[in-house]
Symmetry: C2
Subunit: 343 residues, 2 copies
DNA sequence: GTGAAAGCGCTAACAC
DNA sequence: GTGTTAGCGCTTTCAC
């Protein structure tokens, strides 16, 4: 950070502009001049000061990504994809986690935690519409995940209801009738996020299977421990489901652990479907049938959304309309519903 | 990013300096003045431009963290801790992954990928001493992990040899004698990173158990799939170990999956010890005995190292000597060695 | 306690 | 093609 454009210019006996041209690969520079400047750059070990460039251009080349928890492999894997997609557009990624705490989500939105950024990709859990409505920041914001806000921000999420219905449908197809839902939240007046729970209800209803609310397992979080606790509670309450549809893979994995401890076989006694297709679900004594969202597509759409808006601001024209985007998903059938032998 | 200090100054009818004083909580400002300026700030919705501040102060408040792969929960969990520790020092974290590719590790070191950063925390896999020796950057660099370089950079890693010995010792204590090592690399002339393999050899030798090189399972990577493949190869070669010490938890998990497929019981037939204590190892049909490094300490030491060096540069005095730091670790005994009932 | 002005390193008009 | 120059928005001497 010590040697500047000016130093190089002096050394090469040219103006700063010329050096700048060379550094930025400006086309109209004579090869001879380019070589001369380049030599000075090499000799001095010049490295452009990005901060200065950013100040001048009004851009930092940084996209912030805020997820609830990096300990959840879904978000870790997603972050990896976002980093890759961002790199394709010459952006780097500032990563933050909110631990699903509303105040942290809010701070992130307002740019208080990740302060230098051109855009923000946020996967909210607790954030309310009112929090977002008051957002003063004009840096582009993209929302990820199940929660929907009626606000003009791009939103990227698979069709959670359809996915849940497919998962439940799969269990019904296998002849299961007492299908529990694991991972509902009860500390909320409204449960705005639980499209997956809605899907569970809808599919059961459509297929003429009575919806038994006693089969809804509540939990505080969505980690493995929460899944284990919810499953234990369900079994302790005397329920004996023949299938479990879990809010996510971690909950499913926690639940399977408890079943294993209690001598329940998966899938013979209880079939299990998860959600997220984290790598972990492909291993373990019983591999997990799960909904696989196209994570790479989610990352790509998110980054593109930010970049597009950035270009719109700096470029000519109108800011694009905000959109709902629904990347693809698929049901991956594994041993937790099919058993070891396959079908 | 539109309203600047100057705008606020005009609005409040004061100078830029005064506004700056208020924004930065400079102590010697009369309360009345402070209130007046604050009002202008609020009315205009002023937000300081961090980039400009950074340019001026020569600091960005960003620490870059580069790990091989976020899909490995060890690194994801570590990243979470680094973010937390960085936040304690008012830094944010730019995250990158190198996929264990030497050229990417090199680019990161040279600041080509994460370009705006005050310091770099790097967990290298393939990087060679010569790569690092030529590093021109003067931004602080901290190295994490098993690899050692004889260079003046802070290096943070648990005592891998001691940890490996403790793991192998535990298996020996349980009466196991044919202890395989899973996750060695064979594509390297020297295996500079494999302190864990050294520990395996040393402990066996010390305890008078013959070291059988046929029990070393090689793999290309350190993911679950690599562990599964290595285990399958070992078994296919006719070896029948009574224990496995895996390079990391993912390899152990992959190996356990293969054993389960082949009807080998853990720990009755084969006891297993992993390395990293990822959360995943606490679940599954058989929970995994593993070496648990103090990840939070690693993160704390890494961030502190960067911050300390930064303060040294900007502050008064001498740059601190580079250090080797060895955070604590412990052996966590679970079902893969103890069985379900405990001891 | 507050103001004026210089300058961090770079880019982009605009002139030559 | 290349040089001159004016800022980007902020902090920071240094006067007052």
């Amino acid at each position: 950070m010590r040697v500047s454009l000016k130093d190089v210019a002096e050394r090469a006996g040219v103006s700063v502009k010329t050096v700048s041209n060379v550094v930025n690969n400006y086309p109209h520079v004579t090869p001879a001049m380019r070589a001369r400047v380049q030599q000075a750059i090499d000799e001095l070990g010049y490295r452009p000061n990005l901060t200065a460039r950013h100040l001048r251009k009004g851009r930092t080349g940084i996209i912030a990504l805020a997820v609830p928890e990096l300990g959840n492999p879904y978000f870790a894997e997603l972050a990896g994809h976002v980093i890759d997609e961002a790199a394709r557009h010459d952006f780097t990624v500032l990563l933050d986690h909110t631990q699903g705490r509303r105040e942290l989500e809010l701070l992130v939105c307002q740019g208080f935690r990740a302060r230098v950024m051109d855009g923000l990709i946020l996967s909210p859990l607790e954030l309310e519409t009112e929090d977002l409505r008051g957002r003063a920041e004009e840096t582009p914001l993209v929302l990820l995940g199940e929660r929907r806000y009626d606000l003009p921000y791009d939103h990227i999420a698979i069709d959670n209801i359809a996915a849940a219905r497919q998962a439940v449908g799969h269990l019904l197809d296998l002849g299961r009738r007492r299908i529990a839902f694991l991972g509902a939240r009860e500390d909320r007046a409204q449960q705005p996020a639980h499209l997956r729970l809605l899907g569970w209800r809808a599919e059961l209803a459509d297929r003429g299977v009575p919806v038994d609310e006693a089969l809804v397992g509540y939990s505080e979080g969505w980690e493995r421990a929460d899944g284990a606790a919810a499953m234990a509670r369900l079994l302790d309450s005397g329920q004996r489901p023949d299938a479990v549809f879990a809010y996510n893979d971690l909950i499913a994995i926690g639940a399977m652990r408890v079943m294993s401890e209690r001598g329940l076989r998966v899938p013979e006694d209880v079939a299990v479907v998860g959600f997220d297709d984290v790598t972990e679900s492909r291993y373990g004594a019983v591999t997990l049938t799960t909904i696989a969202p196209d994570k790479r597509a989610i990352a790509r759409l998110a980054v593109e959304s930010v970049v597009k808006r950035l270009d719109a601001v700096h470029g000519d024209g109108g800011v694009p309309e905000s959109q709902e985007m629904h990347p693809a998903f698929s049901l991956v059938e594994r041993e937790s519903t099919r058993g070891r032998g396959g079908r």
